[in-house]
């Protein structure tokens, strides 16, 4: 794991020996084919197929290794900054592993990362991302930009492309240079800047509510409610999302946590207040 991660822990820290050896071997071997780097791979003929056969619930429901999955996360930009809302359920096949997972990582007071997909992959690599962001701050005496932070994660997962990482994340933050910014980064290596993203098994349900009510000119209160309501819609219909909703608001002075809202409780409050979910018997 570390040999790949080390490649992205900043150019300055590459080892002296590698540099010197590279110079010397260039003389020895003539042409250095830098376009075909090699990375450590397990000694199986087709590692990606092996992984799929043993862990992919969709292609093989009888597989023995169940990776924790399932989520709805969303983030959208509006006049007053960014709202980030996530659920908190983790499932392993049909088993609800936890209803209280924290799917937002606080990278620094101005940067948040959301987690969807494989829980372990997200937790590990986003914590690692936090380390790299901190190192950047110490070296450059300046907070890292959202573009650079998301690129560190994007480049890292690209190295592991095809090897079974499962991550759909949003890197959200505010810097003076960029303003409020959201980057969607996934384990295919996709990295997109955008204003609205919903990620996870329940994303389509969240998009339904979010897209129909979204406006750039929402107030902070309206936007937070919209985020919460979109996740609620997803937890209602997606079996793999639920538990509670965590809300964040990112402003020019950093992110603000807006509480943990248990779905079981607020569902009934919202059903009564909005007069919605009328097919559910009160």
């Amino acid at each position: 794991m570390n040999t790949i991660a080390n490649k992205f822990t900043h150019a300055n820290s590459s080892s002296v020996l590698n540099e010197i050896n590279a110079v010397q071997s260039e003389f020895a071997s003539g042409h250095q084919l830098e376009l075909a780097p090699s990375i450590q791979v397990p000694p199986i003929s087709q590692p990606t197929d092996f992984l799929r056969a043993h862990t992919d619930d969709a292609s093989n429901p009888d597989c023995k290794i169940k990776i924790a999955h399932g989520t709805t996360t969303l983030a959208f930009r509006f006049k007053e900054g960014i709202v980030v809302a996530v659920d908190s359920r983790a499932t392993a096949g049909n088993w609800i592993a936890s209803q209280t997972v924290n799917k937002v990582i606080r990278i620094n007071p101005f940067l948040l990362g959301t987690m969807a997909g494989g829980a372990a992959d997200c937790q590990y690599w986003e914590t690692w991302l936090g380390t790299q962001c901190r190192l950047h701050e110490l070296r450059e005496k300046e907070r890292i930009s959202v573009a650079a932070a998301s690129k560190i994660l994007g480049n890292l997962v690209y190295e592991y492309k095809g090897m079974g990482l499962s991550m759909g994340t949003m890197v959200c933050g505010y810097t003076k240079k960029e303003g409020p910014t959201i980057y969607y980064v996934d384990s295919d290596g996709t990295r997109l800047k955008g204003d609205i993203f919903c990620v996870g098994s329940g994303q389509t349900f969240a998009y339904g509510v979010l897209d129909s009510e979204y406006k750039w000119d929402l107030t902070v209160e309206e936007a937070l409610y919209l985020g919460k309501r979109s996740i609620l819609a997803a937890t209602h219909r997606d079996a793999y999302s639920g538990g509670s909703i965590n809300l964040y608001h990112v402003t020019e002075t950093g992110w603000v946590y807006h509480g943990n809202h248990n779905v079981g409780d607020i569902f009934w409050d919202i059903k009564e207040k909005e007069q919605s979910f009328n097919n559910v018997d009160g």
Partner: protein, 249 residues
């Protein structure tokens, strides 16, 4: 002493790494390079060796190298070593643009070049780079001029005005005497050329000058433009000399 100077990886008993100090000697024999910061500009000037008769001056590489759109590097010492270091700096500048989606700051670039020079003072089988560099430019979206210098040991410093290479001590003393804060572009160029003329006796054809301004503006002065400044400076010197003579009679 002689026992401790042949290998790079050992200290002498009194704390010297002689190979690094000998590298500085190589720098002192290289052609002079000067950098001066003004209010809104940085000017780099270099001494050009007299071209031999059959040498083609139009395509012989200059000593002031562009690292990126906003940064220039001038050096003193072994030209071949400089070529390698300049290329590393160029690659790092692009690599930074790729991974951080932003241009390098001048300090970052300097730190990198100095870091490479330091790496080569602490391993076996290699010798230090025999060059000192002056790195000048502006950070992106910034109007503050930056000027840094690195040396073979890997030390780097920020300067308001500095000179390296042959007779750099003379030039530095001249700069200390005549440097003022917030010089205009014209005054900065003039000061650079004037300080170079202290050591380059043969005039405009052996000087090259580049001017940097905020917003990726890099301007290389032509021989005629330099000659204009030189003539102005000579005229002023003559006038000064005249004034000094007069009270005598």
């Amino acid at each position: 002493m002689s026992g401790y100077d042949s290998a790079l990886s050992i200290f002498s008993p009194d704390g010297h790494v002689f190979q690094v100090e000998y590298a500085s000697e190589a720098v002192k024999r290289g052609t002079c390079a000067v950098g001066v910061k003004g209010k809104e500009s940085v000017v780099l000037g270099c001494e050009k060796r007299t071209t031999l008769k059959l040498q083609d001056p139009r395509i012989t590489p200059s000593k002031i190298c562009k690292i990126d759109n906003h940064a220039l590097l001038a050096f003193a010492g072994l030209n071949a070593d400089a070529r390698i270091l300049v290329d590393k700096a160029r690659v790092e500048a692009q690599s930074h643009r790729l991974t951080l989606e932003d241009a390098v700051s001048i300090e970052y670039l300097t730190k990198y070049v100095a870091g490479v020079q330091q790496k080569y003072t602490q391993s076996g089988g290699v010798r230090p780079f025999g060059i000192a560099t002056i790195i000048a430019g502006f950070d992106s979206n910034d109007t503050v001029p930056r000027l840094y210098q690195t040396e073979p040991s890997g030390v780097y410093n920020a300067w308001k005005a500095h000179a390296i290479g042959r007779s750099s001590k003379t030039v530095r003393e001249f700069l200390e005497k005549h440097y003022e804060e917030d010089l205009s572009d014209e005054q900065t160029i003039k000061l650079t050329i004037k300080s170079l003329l202290e050591v380059v006796q043969t005039g405009a054809k052996n000087i090259e000058v580049s001017v940097l301004k905020a917003g990726n503006v890099i301007q290389k002065l032509s021989v005629d433009e330099i000659k204009k400044y030189v003539d102005e400076i000579e005229a002023e010197k003559a006038a000064e000399a005249e004034k000094k003579k007069k009270p005598r009679d």
